[in-house]
Every structure is written in C-alpha cells, then in structure tokens.
Symmetry: C2
Subunit: 114 residues, 2 copies
DNA sequence: CTGCATCCTCGGGGATACTG
DNA sequence: CAGTATCCCCGAGGATGCAG
C-alpha cells in the first residue's frame, strides 16, 4: 500500500520527469498515432536535432514508455513504438492538453480585459 | 476554435510550464488543502529556501493559479490561496499522481525481474 | 539512415547576506 | 515575518563533426 498519506509530491514528480523533456510531448503524440522511424520523427518535429532526438528517445526507452526496434539492413532502419505501458500515458497527456487549452483561453481574457 | 487539429504540443507544454517548477506540486498540494501563510509553506516543505519559495509563488501568481493577500500588520503577514481557476488544476495533478504510482510499481517490477 | 563525441550556452535553482 | 539582491553551480538542450 504505497503512498498511503497521499503525499503526492513524489509520484507526481516521477510522472513529470518522464514527460517533461522539451520535445517529449510531441514525440509521444506522434507515437500514439503509430510506429515511426527515426527520420520520420525528426522531419515531423521541426527544429529538433538528431542528437537531441536520440537523447529524448533513449530516456523514454529507459523509462519503459517506448520500444526501439533495429532492422539489420543497409541502410539502417530503426522503428520506435509505444510499449503497452507507454500507451497508458495517453489519457494523462490528454488531461494536460485540455487544461492547457483552458489556461490559454484564460490568459487571453486577462489581456483583453486591460 | 483553437487547436482544431489537436496538435497538442502547445497546450500540453503550457500546462507543463505552469506546474513543473521543482517545488510547485508540493506547494499546490498544500494549497489544495486551504489557505497558507508564507512561513507555514516554508516549514511544510523541508529543503526549500525563502528565495526559491518566493520565486515559485510569484510564478504561480503570475499564471493566475494562486492569490497573494498582504495584511498591513506588524509583523507582516501574507497569505496564499488558490484562485478559482487554480482549483481546476487539482484533477490534473491527481492524474499525474495516479500514473506516477503505476510507473513506480512498474519500475520496481523491472528491478526484481533481474 | 541512424547515432555517438565534443563543446558550448543558458536559465532554474541553491547559498548567503541585507531590509521594511 | 516575508521578502529582495547577489553570486554561483549544474545539467538540459543546441551546434557541429565523425562513424557504422
């Protein structure tokens, strides 16, 4: 029975550590739609470099969110996909999305109320 | 009609920017329970300094999540509480909490499966 | 095509001292 | 009591070049 006093600092921070890389929400959004190759991911996320994309993917893999599949071909081919556990993140991100939309509306109202 | 194609990178990042200060989940947890004075907050969060607590509170205030009430007394007294809008964050954080607990369980299984 | 090594920048967060 | 003002450190993320 973990976290019985609901000191929710720790598990909340754990979740944030998993999803709060600069590009991770975008990466996850793409992978929620299906398996993607490395190059496709890079072209789908304007502004990200190979190095950083690699880093973010490695971290998500380390955290058990995504799977990396290497095909022994020439030229190399690597596919990334969500693990079953990774798919459980979708409703969480949807929650963040929905609240974020409300937040942005709220900010707009603040400005126009000047 | 904002974000119609559900490109949820942006609003998700907006939410993350609001809640992902190092101590913000803890601060919010305390304020979900009710109004708190500055000193009470500091003593409730071991390890945080006044400077950093001030910074995090200012940011949350700026984002419209919390309210700061100053009492013209000696010695000074300042109370912090959630705004109505800030209260809408609670279910979001609860979502992060729940997923974080599953995640921690998952990690434990990984280790013991060695 | 995919990825590692190296170097650098920048800002969040910490330590400390002073103040209304 | 509740801050502000400085200074500093460290790590995430960006740029570039090399490699299997």
């Amino acid at each position: 029975m973990p976290y019985e006093h609901s000191l929710y600092g720790c598990p909340v921070d754990a979740t944030l550590n998993v999803i709060s890389g600069k590009w991770k929400p975008q990466i996850l959004r793409l992978l929620f739609q299906g398996t993607r190759r490395f190059g496709v991911l890079q072209r789908s996320i304007p502004g990200i470099s190979r190095h950083v994309l690699t880093t973010q993917l490695r971290e998500l893999e380390q955290d058990g969110i995504i799977q990396r599949t290497v095909f022994a071909e020439v030229p190399p081919k690597v596919e990334y996909s969500l693990t079953e556990f990774g798919k459980t993140l979708e409703p969480v991100l949807t929650g963040l999305l929905t609240w974020g939309e409300h937040y942005i509306q709220q900010q707009d109202k603040q400005k126009s109320a000047t």
